[in-house]
Symmetry: C2
Subunit: 295 residues, 2 copies
């Protein structure tokens, strides 16, 4: 007899991820959102925002490597990077692995996410003390509006789902500002939700509809993220200059991977190309969405 | 107030998949295993064997397409196929899409799985009435021992986890018989569990260790299967003659895809190549396993 501590996240109609918990390590309302840290026997520590998994120690490497490295290995020598969201620090950690990086702006709306990540996820929030990193407690959409034109080589949108505080990070005006603050050869990379999610699967075609008028090249790729809704996740790259595949050199990426600080566990030069090969149903989701009139 | 019908499958320490249920449609003990069919609002009908998800209407297309088509599109004109396990019929359905197929032996140890699939999953068990299909209610390992040498162009091992009734389907003796019943240019394809599973991740390196002495070419590939443990799944191809990538012609596959009966939703010729690009941690899992002495 006895109780059990358990966390479950339902992405639709009571379906989703579940895990027993060893401990509830932290729980607060930051004024913006509920922030919890729990300990799972399988997933390790988990960061929950408003009851949704933001990361787990077990599989965060896949998400962060796949958000960052396809864009950065496409660029010959990325120097200046903007990260919108991503207060846990995982995206910044991956960015800093590239020795060419000189300047990283991280814009996180909720300073408590950063503080909690620093306390409970030191290996994720590893880069915040790096002198190249500049923290900004601000709304991402507002920050890009006041940022200088053509400044960044890469912009990463490491947002929560396209609802609530993150809604403005999936809009036309925001993408237009991202394009403006990027150098002419810069790259925008964003998480574009799960193509199997009953509702948010529409994010992927919507992102294409909004980005294609702004960027010459827009392409999406997938990675498995077991603890995210449906376990399969899409990312989208956009650039006015570089084609994510035709301008990608596996040989160059291979050489540069030797010079990264730390070792990657998911991304490889071969996987870069492979991740852009979309399953039939995902290709259809995008092309059907593009055929529809804008909402 | 009130109760709720719910199914959860834990792959380790209370972690896994959960869903509310609309209905419990069928439940029996076949003498071999518990067979249940439940209705989930998100996953549709689900087939459970001994409490574990065998398939759901929602994502079975990924598993079945990815078990079958990489092997069959590698062969120029597959005619004779052996399916071990797979009593739900999904693998046979995909095999029969190829117009060159003349003869399919399906060996399922539990006839009740076939009967339940025919009643509750008619779109999955679609091929059992096809005159090319021959059902055998037998133990897979025993069936291959008495099958003629060099007869099959492809053998598919569509098994449950490597424990209990399926344990013999992951052994050296079984693989050796599979090699014997295959034509010299034939291909063996099997599900090799999740590379992220805390225990069964060892299946993938073990399969390589056992198959490499028997086949010149052994290569694994991945696909996301959201309702399987960890949501990421590995498959392994083995052939004495064909290299799964070097001997694969995307142009030929593209042409043949036009002549398939029915439309594929996951597999594409581009994805064939892409699926074999393994993440770093999976490459390491395999090479570390190969470096270990045989168990």
């Amino acid at each position: 007899m006895g109780g059990e501590l358990r966390f479950s996240e339902f992405f639709s109609h009571g379906a989703g991820l579940t895990t027993s918990l060893d401990a509830l390590l932290h729980c607060e309302h930051s004024g913006i959102q509920h922030i919890c840290v729990v300990q799972s026997p399988v997933f390790g520590r988990m960061l929950l925002l408003d009851g949704m998994v933001m990361l787990t120690e077990w599989d965060e490497f896949i998400y962060h490597e796949m958000l960052v490295h396809p864009a950065l290995f496409l660029l010959p020598s990325p120097r200046r990077v903007l990260v919108i969201g991503g207060g846990d620090g995982g995206t910044v950690r991956e960015v800093l692995r590239h020795p060419s990086i000189e300047h990283v702006d991280l814009v996180e709306i909720d300073p408590r996410v950063i503080a909690v990540a620093q306390s409970y996820f030191p290996t994720v929030a590893a880069g915040f003390s790096d002198p190249r990193v500049h923290l900004h407690h601000a709304d991402g959409a507002e920050f890009v509006r006041s940022a200088p034109s053509g400044f960044y080589d890469a912009v990463f949108v490491d947002s929560t789902d396209p609802t609530g505080i993150a809604e403005s990070l999936f809009g036309e005006a925001f993408y237009s500002e991202c394009q403006r603050v990027l150098h002419a050869t810069g790259v925008l990379a964003l998480q574009s939700e799960s193509p199997l999610h009953p509702v948010y699967c529409q994010t992927l075609p919507r992102v294409h509809r909004l980005l294609r008028p702004l960027f010459r090249h827009v392409a999406s790729y997938l990675a498995p993220i077991p603890t995210y809704p449906t376990g399969i996740w899409s990312f989208t790259l956009a650039s006015r200059h570089y084609h994510p595949l035709e301008d990608f050199s596996p040989t160059n990426a291979q050489q540069r991977m030797e010079c990264l600080s730390g070792k990657l566990r998911y991304y490889t030069a071969e996987l870069h190309r492979a991740a852009f090969a979309l399953p039939g149903f995902v290709q259809e989701l995008i092309s059907e969405g593009l055929a529809q009139p804008a909402p």
